[in-house]
Amino acid sequence: MKFALNVIAVFIICSLNTNAQRTAIIQYKLTTKSDSYGVYSQNYIVYINGFQSIQLSYKNIIPTSSNEENRITDVKVISGGKPIFIFKDFKDKRLILSDHISTKQYLINDTLNWFKWKITNDYKKIQNFRCRKAITNFRGRNYIAWFTEELPIQNGPWKFCGLPGLIINVSDDNFFFSYELTGIDLKAKFDERIISLPKEYLNIKAVEHKNFMALVNKKKLDYEKFSRTYSNNVKGGISNVSISIPEKQEKF
């Protein structure tokens, strides 16, 4: 009897271990548009393993075709400096990321899934996926997301998540920040250790999101003050000197 119980216990443990951990690699391109900086684009790659994911910045991403499962062939990590990342943990409801003010990097603690999505009945075909429109307001901007129920993954680019399907495209209503899917590999194999806090940040104390935003706003004011002083000192010269830091995606 005891033996039988042990066998059952072992069986249960084994079956727990065989819990399918889904891995996937998703690529997005972010296009930012602003008056002072023009149009700028940046590629990101999201590694997903079960309940955790990490988004990293990459360069040299080969443009992919619109096949349903694009192969990711050649990616390189941006070397030098600390990696820019967004780490999501859906089990522990954690969101940790890095961001910068000027050249200084910060480690930031944030809350996972603050999005109150409104799912509409608008559909659109994007890259062979049947996508559904969802809208939300998040920290000062209105966003329109197109997600697909064909890929039941609760994730997306940047901090976005919490829809009943993978986000294919998402942008704010002014198209200042637009993310679009550029590649997807659902049979991806990679070193799972990549989905963790990058070692460069291990000895850095994290700041809370609201404290980080306070620092951003302080910096903004400093720059404005500096701009004014500078313009006052130039006699009869250029009167329109403005120095600013790039607009953050979040306003607060």
């Binding site: 819990n19 309940f51 859906f90 009945n121 039941p152 609760q154 009943p164």
Partner: protein, 106 residues
């Protein structure tokens, strides 16, 4: 490889008669594997209004709650990458009736 998602779901619904709130609990299983992070949706039958949605936890279980509309029939859908999605038709009465049996069993 068997690509069928066997979806064993026990639905206990908790009904607040006016607000029409329901609770859905169950698990998503394929063979002997419990599937974590599988998508669960309760939709209105006919159109595709999503009334309640969420994902299974690390043990493959889910516990969701939300409000239902006036429809007579609903769809309960479980989906997971690489598996055929599983769709259940549930009548409004079933959603509500099971809730009564749940209360009786207490």
């Amino acid at each position: 490889m068997c690509r069928y998602l066997i979806f064993l779901s026990i639905i206990f619904t908790h009904h607040l008669s006016l607000a029409q709130s329901v609770k859905l609990t169950g698990s998503v299983i394929s063979g002997t594997d419990k599937l974590p992070s599988a998508s669960i949706q309760l939709k209105t039958f006919g159109d595709e209004d999503i009334l309640i949605y969420g994902f299974s936890d690390e043990e493959g279980n889910y516990k969701l709650s939300g409000k239902i509309d006036q429809s007579a029939n609903f769809l309960l859908i479980a989906a997971y990458i690489g598996y055929k999605k599983d769709t259940f038709v549930i009548t409004r009465n079933d959603l509500i009736k099971q809730e009564y049996s749940n209360i009786i069993s207490r």
